[in-house]
Symmetry: C2
Subunit: 164 residues, 2 copies
């Protein structure tokens, strides 16, 4: 009731925004939980999602430094240290010193790690596609576009914040 499209009051704007944020959080959490459920317990090659992310980054470009992985995965350097520690312990990757810059430690896929991520990637894609089946193709494209714009608004926002 009442005329539509009147000037939005700050309160209403905040409410819609918080509701949007809650839905983003819940979609993320539910999807993550469902992916985990389909992934981990399945015998054969299993991997946690952060480990999957690490390996997927390495198959795209092998021999990245920890700092590069930290930036791409949007996590802290300390986190990557632990992630690589455990993956190395399990024989999936190995650190190699950079001969030119002794600060750097580069991470390389080992045979076992390459085999694992190769087998996981298509399964992962199929699961994701299946989980998004609740939206039709047009909605998926639109959602993808809006999320892309949202993400973009952050990265630019961040650089501004870093400068100011």
């Amino acid at each position: 009731m009442t005329a539509k499209a009147k000037v939005e009051e700050p309160q209403a704007l905040a409410d819609v925004s918080v509701s949007l944020w809650v839905r983003l959080l819940e979609s993320h959490n539910l999807m993550l939980a469902e992916l985990r459920r389909r992934f981990v317990p399945g015998r054969g090659g299993a991997a946690t999602l952060p480990r999957f992310d690490l390996l997927a980054n390495l198959i795209r470009e092998d021999g990245q430094t920890l700092a590069a992985l930290s930036r791409r995965m949007l996590v802290t350097a300390g986190n990557v240290t632990g992630l690589v520690d455990r993956a190395e312990r399990d024989g999936l990757v190995e650190r190699r010193a950079d001969p030119e810059d002794r600060r750097l430690s580069r991470v390389f896929l080992k045979k076992k790690g390459r085999a694992l991520i190769t087998s996981l990637l298509p399964r992962h894609a199929a699961h994701v596609a299946d989980l998004l089946a609740g939206l039709d193709a047009k909605e998926r494209r639109e959602l993808r576009r809006l999320l892309g714009k949202l993400r973009g608004s952050f990265t630019s926002h961040d650089s501004e914040a870093a400068v100011s």
Copy 2:
């Protein structure tokens, strides 16, 4: 150009889906990081986001059981135990035994916890609205709608999965 709505190839569908999922993940992570950055260091009353979530649930309905909180917050019961432990340690909430069912432990806000969440809620809403300012009102409504539909498709999906 080209006729629209041709049959999508599975590969393309998966690619769009994975890209959508990556954007959802990144939007979530970036927004979470920015919220954390604005929240925690700010002096006065600070709280981590899970703690914020706990308190926000309690102010909506005080005296919930741990199991109810677990369901609402989409986390495991064991996690809620620790969350409440720490909040109780810090004097924000307290456990009280349910007189009718000795299995239950109900969580109540203490004065300090109520004051904290009351002061945090409007700040949180303002930050969220600010972070979504990269989208115009129409886009926010559409994004909110699509995320709602996506989330809904999970919960129904879950019940099916539980049955099958």
